[in-house]
């Protein structure tokens, strides 16, 4: 406790010191390089172009400790691999500066501040979590530093922000892909929703799925019913018995993995034959451990599967990741990897570290990464194919890819 307080006091002291110093620096430091050269064009200042630093710093703001430690670690693994493969840009060495935000929102903002003011990074990659990305982006937007959130999927992370981008698709996109897959690939005509109404993610995703399911089936009544429960509930037999009597083609249950495990088990016991479908919150190994054989045939949409993308860049990434870490890459590591690569691609095309030039380069992105051709939509969200994963023999198996709209 005491050590924490001491560290906090020290950090805030350091911060004020840094703020003071940087204030002094802007007053004195920027004057000298301006004169000489072209006095004919006083309007056009171009300090950034000539002034490429010897080392280009990329900040990585991640959840290395705290509840998100596992996710932060996976993301950092992806970034490190990308850095290893692409350690230079514009003829300069790239240095990645990792800061730990301890999985806390306030720390994420502080970490962003440090990256901007102390480390003077050219761009930031991360955070994998939506709420921490939002806290970070408030700081970065003001400082005019471009950012690339990794696995964060809440629309608000980039909405209304000029310099904020993300290397992942968002939930409306995922919900739409799930519905499209259900209707066009599985031939589903009816669906039922089973949703944890105490959490934002399931409620949002289920809503997007419902809209798209009605759109693709062209049937206003295609969604037969909406059943709810609350986080911590474990007995779903009442809802499932109702679902059994409705006999839908699809049960869309975009819930947390533990509840989902119990749902799948009870559904199998009750003899429900409908296809269960969920979102990327199901992409956790514990799901299969909890549900056991009952998870057979269960499907969900996710950001990534090693077999989902056939382009050589993807194969290369998967092989290199397996060789380096001995495990399969998943959502977090692929977004970390692609996040770094997308940012370096933009720096390369901008030919500068000026944030407005980087912004323009990012908007024009058409980069082939580990998930194929990646572009950004009007709100700076990645437009990507959505893999559908099926549990087969207890393993995550690639089933289908929903191609992004052109």
């Amino acid at each position: 406790m005491n050590r924490n307080k001491l560290a906090l006091a020290f950090a805030s002291l350091l911060l004020t010191l840094v703020l003071l110093l940087s204030a002094c620096a802007t007053q004195t430091g920027t004057q000298p390089p301006a004169p000489a050269q072209t006095e004919a064009q006083p309007v056009e200042q171009k300090p950034a172009e000539g002034a490429l630093p010897d080392v280009i710093k990329i900040g990585v703001n991640e959840t290395m400790t705290g509840w998100g430690a596992a996710y932060g670690d996976m993301t950092w693994k992806g970034v490190q691999l990308a850095h290893e493969q692409k350690p230079e840009v514009l003829g300069k060495k790239v240095e990645v500066v990792l800061v730990d935000n301890k999985s806390e929102k306030s720390e994420a903002a502080l970490a962003a501040q440090r990256l901007v003011e102390v480390e003077k990074v050219a761009a930031v990659v991360g955070v994998n979590s939506s709420s921490m990305s939002m806290a970070q982006n408030e700081v970065l937007e003001k400082a005019k530093v471009v950012s690339m959130a990794t696995a964060a999927t809440n629309p608000l992370v980039t909405q209304g922000k000029r310099y904020a981008f993300r290397a992942a698709f968002i939930d409306p996109f995922q919900g739409d892909a799930g519905a499209k897959f259900a209707v066009e690939e599985l031939g589903a005509k009816t669906a039922v929703l089973l949703v944890d109404i105490a959490l934002d993610y399931p409620v949002g995703l289920a809503n997007y799925f419902r809209q798209s399911f009605i759109k693709y089936t062209e049937d206003e009544k295609a969604v037969l019913a909406f059943f709810s429960f609350q986080t911590g509930d474990r007995d779903f037999t009442a809802q499932l018995t109702q679902i059994k009597s409705l006999n839908p083609d699809i049960v869309f249950a975009p819930d947390e993995y533990a509840e989902l495990g119990a749902i799948l088990q009870q559904a199998k016991q009750l003899g429900i034959t409908a296809q269960f479908l969920a979102g990327d919150s199901a992409d956790v190994p514990e799901l299969v451990q909890i549900a056991g054989e009952n998870a057979e045939g269960f499907m969900y949409t996710a950001q990534f599967h090693p077999d989902a993308f056939t382009n050589p860049e993807s194969k290369q990434f998967v092989d290199a990741f397996r060789a380096k870490y001995g495990i399969d890459p998943e959502t977090f590591s692929v977004t970390g990897y692609d996040g770094y690569m997308l940012m370096l691609d933009a720096i390369e095309r901008a030919g500068s570290l000026d944030s407005d030039k980087l912004y323009e380069a990012l908007v024009a992105t058409a980069f082939t990464g580990a998930r194929g051709l990646t572009k950004f939509d009007a709100n700076h969200n990645a437009i990507l194919g959505v893999p559908v994963i099926e549990i087969k023999d207890g393993k995550k198996t690639f089933r289908y890819i929903v191609q992004p709209p052109q």
């Binding site: 509930d233 007995d235 037999t237 018995t241 495990g261 088990q265 451990q289 056991g292």
Partner: protein, 297 residues
């Protein structure tokens, strides 16, 4: 609703109701002898489930050994908590209730720090995953096991309370602690015995609950603990048949409300808590109208 569908709901309701009844007994035993609402009961339940899982995952021991060790640890933990946190506060009812709440959060947070909040699969005998079919009605074996275990434990408890000396001492403490002390009953010993009983019920309840809903995390005890508590109050807290009936009715009600009004699934928790308030207001003694012992000045 056709008959088979109704029977299916009935099967689901009996299982959930029996589970709540089993857990509710733990509250009522403690309340009966010390008038303490043991808010940490759900956490004893969670610790039992967690340690059972941990024993199997970490030491590869069979589930029954692991469960037995876990149950013993939880009983000892219950005695420790009573000795350290409850007994010094016994004279002040409010303080001891606050103490119980603190113990509850302490255990939850301790387990989050030690094991993280991620849910882990709960190891249980494979036979409990089987299901029996009667026409279109599905009866999971685990439901049958829950009912058998519950009824057996109720009968044992009944025998213990009515026909043994410890049971008589428990009842006399609950009626009048001072007079029973004059008659040679040591209240601290009897209260400790009540804690042994209550935590044993928590451990067995946890095993049955997590075998049916096969995962465990540090918050496993919160919802069943709350629901069973409501059940105990509805039945009449302090009364053993009250806890059984109250817990059973609450579980059955939760299932039947969804059966009758599928749109109202979101409302079932609200109704459970509303029911609690209604009972406290209009029939604090519960269905069995248990008399609350008057405090002597």
């Amino acid at each position: 609703m056709d008959f088979e569908l109704f029977t299916q709901f009935l099967v689901n309701g009996i299982a959930l109701g029996s589970l709540y009844a089993l857990i509710a007994i733990g509250y009522t035993i403690i309340y009966g002898v010390v008038q303490l609402i043991n808010a940490a009961h759900g956490e004893f339940f969670m610790v039992a489930a967690f340690l059972t899982m941990w024993g199997v995952m970490q030491y590869n021991s069979p589930w029954y050994t692991s469960f037995f060790v876990a149950a013993v640890i939880v009983v000892l933990l219950g005695l420790l908590v009573d000795r350290v946190a409850y007994r010094p506060l016994r004279k002040q009812k409010t303080s001891s209730f606050i103490g119980a709440i603190s113990v509850s959060f302490l255990l939850q947070n301790l387990f989050v720090v030690l094991f993280t909040a991620r849910a882990k699969p709960f190891p249980h005998p494979k036979i409990l995953d089987e299901v029996l079919h009667y026409g279109n009605v599905v009866v999971p074996v685990v439901n049958i096991a829950i009912v058998i275990v519950s009824i057996t434990l109720f009968l044992m408890l009944y025998f213990l309370v009515v026909h043994t000396n410890v049971g008589r001492a428990m009842r006399s403490i609950s009626k009048d602690p001072e007079v029973s002390q004059l008659m040679g009953v040591n209240p601290d010993k009897i209260i400790a015995f009540a804690f042994i009983l209550s935590t044993s019920f928590a451990a067995i309840g946890a095993f049955m609950y997590c075998s049916k809903f096969p995962y465990v995390d540090p918050f496993t005890g919160v919802i069943p603990g709350l629901k069973a508590f409501i059940g105990a109050v509805i039945g009449g807290i302090g009364s053993i048949p009250g806890a059984m009936v109250g817990g059973f009715l609450l579980g059955m009600g939760e299932i039947m409300i969804v059966a009758a009004f599928p749109e109202l699934t979101a409302w079932r928790d609200i109704m459970a808590y509303a029911l609690l308030i209604l009972f406290l207001l209009f029939r604090p003694g519960g269905i069995f109208n248990v008399r609350v012992r008057e405090e002597k000045v």
